[in-house]
């Protein structure tokens, strides 16, 4: 099997070795040096490509495969777009986004026309160059905590508008009427009807079927099947769209929006994210590999000028609109630089345009090179801003920390059953937003009706905790009813989010001790307070005054806690010769009852 395929074409494992190896080496190095991961991938691609070590000879094939990373990216963008968020950003998206794209496209197209490119090519160049890199810009904004600031809002809106614009642009590309564009025998209206029909089918089927299907699969409790289903949805819809001649990215985006409001959103997001990450990485590697350095050598002046013109146009447009968007002076340069590069969609667009025959074949490699070089310029520009531009503003106006808009909840509740519900309701009643994770789909459906923010997911997953905002939350309440899982989650949190305070639900005393071994300071025995209260009611029924009964219960609790601490100390000592849990519990009970006999209640006529 290996021998046959290995001769002409390197087999899958060899390719994987090369790509993964390059990624693992180049990306962390790039990040360490202060460049983003995108540059790392590009560098890795250059290194292993025809102009580097020549480990890979045919980047086109891999580029085609890695296209799917862009599809997944669009899916995730759709997933982030619940209608509320969209409505809040409506004006900046249409205003700032529309302005940036239109003006930049017109200017870039005009320059292209001026240097003697054909009109059709100029249109493609204008639109393609107007796009910025979502991957670079979003990541940088997140790293610098800019997402909550005016620059962040506007930047996000512009990127979103570009992402959305890609969809009709890709769809309409064939209509620009290139030589190879029209290949179907169908009249145009059949194509259009097919497209609309497919979209409607996706929307209707998506609305009606995905939720019950997700629930059915979630009920099975197999994580990998859930992941498989998430991928299946994206692949299925993307292929359907392709079959009717629409863009796969559009389909994926649609699928994302359909799932944005579902309670499975976080789980799906978490499952897809690594695939997207790797495929996007592969995509950038492929771009790096296909950069034509011979072209750079022969056409140095032309290409560098093009990069320079591109940057000037984009920075100029962004800088001009910054004041209107309410971006403070010291952030304007940063904002303009952040979105100054060409984006990954330019690669997609040029490739698609080339394939559709809308773009002159000799232009595509040059344009790709220009965009890639403009990406390389971003970290340099940011460095210039940091060292030279921002310090000027620091002198004039007092440094104001970036607005801390905490979009995540301060509290994460894992497990929304008998225990988690009460904790959650108390917090909810006190206007404290909580993010809730639970893995019982039917329960989630019920609670969601009452407006709680509940997500389907298993709290023992690091990625899901991260998606739920564990990095920025202050408190995590572990209220799952699976004993061993509680400790698992606690360990995970202690290990990865040491600043997060952990409250944990314990089943009984033995479990509570176990959790104390895992570093939970005061595990809450779930039945203790209820039972104590019942005992208090028993005392009242037997004639104790309410206050007397309450005091008796308080005294009992205090004694119990003391005894527990004592037993725990012993328990820790002979952890080595651990007996069975049942025996342990019985021995603890003996010690408890012995100490209860010392709890004395008042008596006699001592009072006035």
């Amino acid at each position: 099997m290996i021998g046959g395929a290995g001769m002409s074409e390197p087999n899958v494992f060899e390719s994987a070795l090369v790509y993964l190896g390059a990624t693992v080496l180049a990306v962390p190095l790039a990040k360490r040096l202060g460049f983003g991961s995108v540059l790392g991938y590009l560098a890795a691609g250059i290194a292993i490509g025809p102009w580097g070590l020549r480990l890979v000879q045919s980047p086109e094939r891999i580029l085609h495969f890695a296209d799917f990373g862009v599809v997944l990216l669009m899916f995730l963008i759709g997933l982030e777009l619940d209608p509320r968020r969209l409505r809040a950003l409506r004006r900046p998206i249409l205003g700032a986004g529309g302005f940036q794209l239109t003006v930049t496209a017109v200017l870039a197209g005009a320059v292209a026309l001026a240097v003697g490119v054909g009109l059709r090519d100029a249109v493609v160049i204008g639109i393609g160059m107007a796009m910025s890199s979502t991957a670079i810009a979003l990541q940088t904004m997140a790293e610098r905590h800019l997402l909550g600031t005016p620059a962040g809002h506007t930047g996000f809106s512009i990127l979103l508008f570009q992402d959305l614009a890609v969809i009709p642009v890709l769809a309409l590309l064939p209509l620009l009427g290139g030589s190879g564009g029209v290949q179907g025998a169908n009249p145009v209206w059949v194509d259009v009807a097919e497209g609309i029909g497919a979209i409607l089918a996706v929307v209707v089927v998506g609305r009606l079927l995905t939720r019950p299907l997700f629930r059915f699969i979630a009920d099975a409790g197999l994580r990998e099947v859930f992941t498989a289903f998430s991928l299946l949805i994206v692949v299925g819809i993307a292929l359907l769209m392709q079959a009717v001649g629409l863009s796969m990215a559009l389909g994926a985006f649609l699928a994302g929006v359909l799932l944005a409001e579902s309670e499975y959103r976080r789980a799906v997001e978490t499952d897809i994210e690594p695939f997207k990450g790797l495929l996007m990485g592969l995509f950038f590697i492929a771009v790096g590999m296909s950069m034509d350095f011979s072209l750079l050598q022969t056409e140095t002046a032309k290409i560098l000028t093009a990069v320079l013109v591109l940057l000037v146009i984009k920075i100029g447009v962004l800088g001009a609109m910054a004041p209107t968007a309410g971006i403070p002076g010291r952030q304007r340069a940063l904002f303009a630089f952040l979105l100054s590069q060409g984006g990954e969609f330019a690669f997609v667009l040029f490739a698609a345009a080339g394939a559709a025959g809308v773009l002159a074949p000799e232009l595509a490699p040059m344009l790709t090179l220009v965009v890639a070089l403009s990406m390389l310029a971003t970290p340099l520009l940011l460095l210039v801003n940091e060292r030279l531009i921002e310090p000027r503003f620091a002198d004039r106006s007092p440094v104001r920390p970036a607005d801390a808009i905490d979009e995540q909840s301060p509290v994460i509740i894992v497990g929304f059953g008998r225990v988690g519900q009460i904790v959650g309701r108390l917090l909810h009643a006190n206007r404290i937003p909580t993010t809730i994770l639970d893995r019982d789909p039917s329960l989630i459906e019920t609670i969601r009706k009452f407006g709680f923010k509940v997500f389907y997911g298993d709290g023992a997953r690091l990625d899901l905790l991260r998606a739920a905002g564990a990095e920025s939350a202050r408190l995590i309440v572990v209220a799952v009813d699976d004993h061993s899982q509680t400790a698992e989650i606690v360990d995970l949190v202690h290990q990865h989010f040491p600043n997060l305070t952990v409250l944990a639900r314990a089943w009984d005393l033995v479990h509570a001790f176990d959790l104390r071994d895992h570093g939970v300071e005061r595990p809450e025995r779930e039945s203790f307070e209820g039972a104590l209260r019942m005992g208090e009611t028993a005392l009242r029924t037997l004639g104790f005054g309410a206050y007397q009964a309450k005091q008796a219960a308080h005294r009992f609790r205090a004694c119990d806690e003391q005894t527990n601490d004592r037993i725990y100390a012993v328990h820790r000592q002979d952890l080595s010769k651990r007996i069975s849990i049942a025996q342990e519990a019985r021995r603890d009970l003996e010690a408890l009852i012995q100490s209860d006999e010392k709890v004395l209640l008042e008596s006699g006529d001592r009072e006035w």
Partner: protein
């Protein structure tokens, strides 16, 4: 358990953290708790967690003409729940301040029991001050709420009281409430020295 009428003209706010161990307060309470027109309200029974239903308390106060604080003297003051009740219920806009006239014109009577005998509450006694001085905070609270602070009922040396003496105290407490307002003790003016207790053992 609240007994008597909810809208009674006499509201007895009672507090004793060790009620069952106090023979005096058991006798006093038993004597008046079922009187018509009296609402006997055991605060610690109603609020063992100290979480007070402020609206219900204010509603009862509006109905009453006479408000009685019945409690032992603890550390020259009242058991904590009485103070907590005052903090929670007698708020601005209800008991004082703008629109705070809900209590204006009503009577307030303190019925207190002490551990020490009466002569301990003298400048040359064990506790250095006459009880009148120690009860000033409640007296002034009543005055600030435009209530009439009536001359208090004080039962000294609660533990050592003989059975007949205790019975007599209980009877006269009952008579005072049953005959109200005819039996109303005199209201005190600022600085009045009522010389000790209304009753004495």
């Amino acid at each position: 358990m609240p007994t008597g009428q909810q809208d009674a003209p006499i509201l007895v706010l009672f507090a004793h953290p060790a009620f069952r161990a106090s023979r005096v307060n058991r006798a006093l309470s038993d004597a008046i708790r079922n009187l018509p027109g009296v609402h006997f309200h055991d605060l610690l029974e109603a609020y063992p967690d100290f979480y007070i239903d402020v609206a219900a308390e204010q509603r009862r106060l509006r109905m009453a003409r006479l408000v009685v604080f019945q409690h032992p003297v603890y550390w020259y003051s009242a058991p904590a729940i009485i103070k907590h009740w005052m903090d929670q219920v007698l708020v601005n806009g209800f008991a004082y301040g703008t629109g705070g006239d809900a209590l204006a014109g009503k009577d307030l009577l303190q019925v207190v029991t002490t551990g020490a005998p009466g002569d301990a509450y003298r400048t040359d006694g064990h506790h250095d001050y006459p009880l009148v001085e120690l009860l000033r905070p409640v007296e002034q609270t009543a005055r600030f709420c435009r209530m009439h602070y009536l001359r208090p009922v004080v039962i000294y040396a609660g533990r050592g009281l003989s059975d007949p003496a205790l019975e007599e105290q209980a009877f006269s407490y009952r008579a005072l409430l049953a005959g109200y307002p005819q039996t109303r003790p005199a209201p005190l003016s600022v600085g009045d020295d009522w010389g000790g207790g209304h009753e004495r053992a």
